[in-house]
Amino acid sequence: MLRYFFLLTMVAYSLPLLPANDTLFAPSIRVGLDVSGLARHLLEPEVMDSELSVDIEWRKNHFLALEAGLVSVNVDKESHRYQSDGFFFRLGPDFNVLGRGDHNPNDLVLLSFRYGYGRLKQEAPFILISDPYWGDFEDALDSESYQAHWLEAGLGLKAEVFRHFFVGWALRGRLLVARSSRTGMDPYIISGYGKHSGSTNLMLHYHLMYRIPLR
């Protein structure tokens, strides 16, 4: 998998994306908010995922992006209590594989690659597992730290809906490459990675962004 990740990075980097005419290129910074976390919060109020992003177009159609945020889970039910708080960042390049037309020169189709790191602290002060034969089982998990590293690759769109204002989505596949050795239990959500249900994950992000031209 690592081999393919780097191979894709190199292929994307070397793609002749546009006819070479950089005289009109103006570098820019785009700041954004991932609203998919807010949408999820409406459906699962116990989970709060806040994420900001910034990317800089340092060379025509070549972007360096940083995404960072906070994730908290706070569950208080009759049969269980669980809390986790964590932060994360993802860093990597984006490559625009869409040639820029005259009418919408800032619309983008992006091939993205990221390294991700997430850290969290979790605890479950009350766990009740009902068992009709053996009787209810009570347990608790002391506060513990957890961290994870992953790689991701994905595809996304960014469309300029108003001047300098963008909406867009990104579909990301993730591969967990390292994590804390297990102590108590795997976290419900790894900050920045998503639900922990194995070493791979697929997530859809939805962004609102504002572009600031640098000259």
Partner: protein
């Protein structure tokens, strides 16, 4: 409307479309979540005929199942035409024993395991998964028993194969 303008709107539409898809998907996931299925963590035993390499389940006419801990409370009081058994592992302890009563013979299965706490979801809460470390048994009726999958979770995997003799009244 110019063609390039139309293409621009189409691109914007495509950019916005996944939000609706995402909302629908998340909503669907919530609705389909059945906690009982997610929390299920029984040990699954399949009965086989000793010497039969076809991998076909054998059928046990009738049997009962008890535990050594609560022998007066049957796990299953009367089972008929059984080829697969689901047994609840004891969450309070790292081991438990089941008495398989084939009526003409009784055998005991002892299991030692590690317990792992898993947070399934906000709604469903926690469950335990198990990793079987050791399986031993008496051999009044059971010819042999093997652990084929150590990890007991909420999947439908078979964990233990129990081989029974072909020439007996129970099969």
């Amino acid at each position: 409307m110019k063609r390039s303008q139309a293409a621009g709107w189409l691109f914007t539409f495509r950019a916005m479309l996944p939000l609706a898809a995402c909302m629908l998907f998340l909503h669907a996931c919530q609705d389909d979540e059945l906690c009982e299925d997610v929390r299920a963590n029984s040990l699954r035993i399949g009965f086989y005929q000793a010497g039969d390499d076809t991998g076909q389940w054998a059928l046990v006419d009738s049997m009962r199942v008890f535990t050594l801990t609560y022998p007066q409370v049957p796990v299953y009081d009367m089972l008929q035409n059984v080829s697969v058994l689901e047994l609840p592992l004891n969450p309070h302890s790292g081991g438990c024993a089941f008495i398989l009563d084939f009526f003409h013979h009784r055998d005991t299965l002892w299991l030692q395991y590690l317990r792992e706490t898993h947070f399934m979801s906000v709604e469903c809460g926690f469950t335990l998964f198990f990793d079987i470390e050791e399986l031993t048994h008496t051999s009044w009726h059971i010819q042999s028993a093997t652990v084929v999958n150590k990890h007991v979770s909420n999947t439908l995997d078979e964990h233990v194969k129990v081989f029974l003799p072909a020439d007996n009244g129970g099969l």
